[in-house]
């Protein structure tokens, strides 16, 4: 358990580091073409943060509204309430607010900018189909997302994707439509070959980086899912609970009506489609369920 936790923490750290390197490389490219590298980077960051801040800050309220979830009263769902409260004690967190979605498709998610403003949502289908150990495993997984500040991590990744998208867009625009100080200087001055190589590298970077950025964001999302599985197992000290729940969830492939592409990454299993095949795996927010079950059974 502990090894898997450490491994996934390091992997997500290095992915974010690599992401930052990509951003700096791109702003260097932008700088090469226009001479406004630093300013471009700063403006791109400001814009990307501004666009994302609202949704991060109110993340708990937004997902509740989108998903048509209703609040849970202790009298109606005492079992769920007690499980959430117990696991919050085990995690050392304040108890998240509980909500349910009326849908027979079994699924669950957690959201919120920090543990004090967090929510856990489960579908009525999940409550019906899972037994106590399995439900505890799922809630422990969600609780771990909250404890690991995964909403913040995902938002960071989305901001970085935004920065890359902006910078690459500006780079390509400037290259094709002119407007940069540096370009005219390079043309008139010497060192033509080196300048040409720079420009080619910068172009390749600008064209490919949005795709790479998305792949990085999805890779980060997958590592955080593995990390939440491992942390969840540490909370319950019972990996077979979550493993059994995942097996049941993968067998039940009914699509969840309330989910859409914007919220899909928050759910415990991909509510839209399960991606198989190596290339498809790169584009999924969640690791394949077989791999998650295998990791849990190794603990």
């Amino acid at each position: 358990m502990y090894e898997q936790i450490t491994r996934n923490k390091w992997r997500s750290f290095f992915l974010i580091l690599f992401f930052l390197c990509l951003i700096f490389a791109l702003s260097w490219a932008f700088g090469e073409l226009t001479g406004w590298g630093t300013e471009g980077l700063i403006i791109a960051v400001v814009i990307a943060v501004a666009m994302t801040f609202g949704s991060y800050y109110a993340s708990d309220k937004i997902v509740l509204a989108i998903s048509r979830a209703r609040p849970v009263k202790k009298e109606d769902y005492p079992y769920l309430y007690n499980v959430v409260e117990g696991l919050a004690i085990a995690a050392g967190l304040p108890k998240p607010r509980c909500y349910v979605i009326d849908d027979t498709a079994p699924n669950a998610f957690a959201s919120g900018r920090n543990p004090e403003n967090s929510v856990i949502v489960v579908t009525t289908g999940l409550l019906q189909k899972l037994n106590r150990a399995e439900l505890e495993g799922v809630i422990a997984h969600e609780m771990s997302h909250i404890k690991n500040y995964d909403v913040l991590v995902q938002t960071l990744a989305v901001v970085m994707v935004g920065v890359v998208a902006l910078l690459s867009d500006w780079t390509l625009r400037t290259f094709f439509w002119g407007g940069g100080r540096r370009r005219s200087r390079d043309r008139s001055g010497g060192g033509g070959n080196a300048a040409a190589i720079f420009i080619v590298v910068a172009l390749v970077l600008a064209i490919l980086s949005p795709l790479v950025a998305q792949l990085l964001r999805l890779a980060i999302s997958r590592k955080r899912e593995f990390l939440a599985d491992a942390n969840g197992a540490l909370l319950t000290r019972y990996p077979p609970g979550l493993a059994s729940a995942l097996k049941k969830l993968s067998a039940d492939r009914e699509p969840l009506e309330a989910a859409n592409k914007a919220t899909a990454h928050l759910y415990i299993v991909n509510p839209l489609k399960d991606f198989k095949g190596k290339v498809n795996k790169l584009f999924s927010t969640h690791p394949p369920i077989e791999e998650r079950i295998a990791a849990l059974e190794k603990m």
Partner: protein, 184 residues
């Protein structure tokens, strides 16, 4: 001149690092103490639920005096337990008495359908879970504190200021580890 500045800078860094380590040890120790107190919160919750439960069952099963007595006595003993070992043993006996109570309730279908009884049953089950989780969390915080108290370099500061290793919550008495016998 520069030599003196460098030496002072190094001393300054060491002092700041030392303060950081000391404060870290204090924080971890307080977290462990808090976690221990939180276990008591859950235990108290269980003690408070029990009289309610006994009264509800008495309403339907007046003649089962023995069971009620056992539960009430076990509860009193648990509340008054002294050392950690005593408390663990008393808690185990209380769990056993409660199991007998629920086993007896099986014979009374009217009781089993009573909403209040079902609610109390679920509450007790939930509280048992929370007690376990609270103890687990206490052990987790103790692990973090003990680790910091033992690794280098914080062990130097720990020994300097008298931070002692903490004990895990463990079942000490061999009787408490045996499976609980349910007798009617």
């Amino acid at each position: 001149m520069t030599g003196l500045v460098v030496v002072l800078a190094i001393i300054g860094v060491v002092i700041v690092a030392g303060i950081g380590i000391y404060n870290g040890l204090i924080t971890l120790r307080n977290r462990a103490d808090n976690a221990w107190a939180q276990v008591d919160v859950q235990l108290r919750r269980r003690y408070d639920l029990i009289p309610n439960l006994v009264e509800t069952v008495k309403g339907y099963a007046k003649h089962e005096r023995e069971v009620f007595q056992k539960v009430t006595e076990a509860r009193a003993q648990a509340i008054n337990a002294g050392t950690v070992g005593e408390q663990g043993q008393a808690e185990n006996m209380l769990s056993g008495a409660l199991k007998s109570l629920f086993a007896v309730a099986e014979n009374y279908p009217d009781l089993k359908a009573n909403q209040n009884f079902l609610m109390l049953q679920e509450e007790l089950a939930g509280t048992e879970g929370k007690i376990a989780y609270a103890r687990q969390f206490y052990n987790d915080t103790v692990m973090k504190f003990n680790t910091k108290q033992q690794v280098f370099p914080s062990n130097m500061i720990a020994n300097m200021f008298g931070f002692k290793e903490k004990e895990y919550f463990e079942i000490e008495e061999p009787e408490a580890k045996e499976p609980v016998k349910v007798e009617f």
